[in-house]
Symmetry: C2
Subunit: 203 residues, 2 copies
């Protein structure tokens, strides 16, 4: 990585710029090298070049580290949906949410994609945490759609499509050519368009 990131740090960045990103990268590398269970907070802090107490200023434990940003993503998805134009349909509102959330995903997040995938594939505990993350993002979007007056189960379905689009878009983006300086948004929106088209051929 080697660069200070302006992403995911929020208020934390004021006192230790980049520490949060370095901790995430160190952790995911260690999880992949030696397994999730065998990796300690002390090892993660050492690899990242920070103290254990710096670790605990950013994350309550090693598992939460992997879902860093989940609450923020849920909040941004919901904000984007809430602020979509009044006449926007459910999927147009979801698209606004995806754009808002994508704006928080920078080069460090893109770089992490392949590492994260490997770590999650290797650990059932991380698979569970990742699955709960999807449920949590879907719930955030469902609530925001319901608040716009979208009836159930349309709100649920549109929210699930939003989660699928975010995950598929993120996968393509993080596997893509990193020399190109494009953000996540066009990938997530393209994935949502594909799902919209697919919904017309469900039979």
């Amino acid at each position: 990585m080697g660069q200070e990131s302006r992403h995911y740090d929020g208020a934390m960045a004021r006192w230790e710029p980049g520490a949060r990103d370095r901790l995430v990268v160190a952790a995911v590398d260690l999880f992949t090298e030696q397994g999730y269970d065998a990796t300690t907070v002390a090892e993660i802090a050492e690899r990242a070049g920070v103290t254990k107490s710096t670790f605990f200023r950013h994350f309550p434990d090693k598992r939460e580290l992997l879902v860093a940003g989940q609450d923020m993503l849920g909040r941004l998805l919901a904000e984007g949906i809430a602020e979509a134009p009044e006449g926007a349909g459910p999927l147009a509102a979801v698209a606004a949410g995806l754009e808002r959330a994508s704006s928080a995903m920078g080069p460090a997040n893109r770089e992490l994609g392949a590492r994260l995938k490997a770590a999650i594939a290797a650990s059932e505990e991380l698979q569970e945490r990742d699955a709960l993350k999807s449920v949590s993002l879907a719930a955030a979007m469902t609530s925001a759609l319901t608040a716009r007056g979208v009836p159930d189960p349309t709100a649920h379905l549109a929210a699930e499509m939003g989660v699928l689009a975010f995950k598929r878009g993120y996968a393509v983006w993080s596997e893509g050519d990193r020399a190109e300086d494009d953000g996540l948004a066009p990938y997530a929106l393209a994935a949502l368009d594909e799902l919209r088209a697919a919904s017309a051929s469900l039979g």
Copy 2:
């Protein structure tokens, strides 16, 4: 419960009919009464009136007990999809999967609904396990749809709708009037029909 169940037992039933259902009910009650973390395998076995070794013949640990039947459900969903008529569209195939899986859900499963909901609401660990269960059922259906030639992402979307329909149908069924001797299938299929209708109003 008080009745021997013909559900979920499979080969196990040959040597201790009903033990599996009794263990599940005892566990979910204990989880709700005193919390998931505080409940031991010994307490679950005692409440169910069986030995600890009987517990371990049925489940590797207390957490897996809560997702009893997940693999079986995934298999039945996939079988139903695979055996749907050749000309059936993606959602018609999903409906066939829901019918097949519903046939494995009997009165004991219906009775458990409210208890399960309370136990899961009270424990983040159980929420994660439950979220992973949804992911696993969606993956089973996606594979079965892909094997029928349904292209991606239609297969993914139809599978997610199948999971939503199964969960929503199960919720309504288990909250419903238990004197009525109807199975889960009509509830799951009605929920799928609602989602199909919703997919036409996504905007």
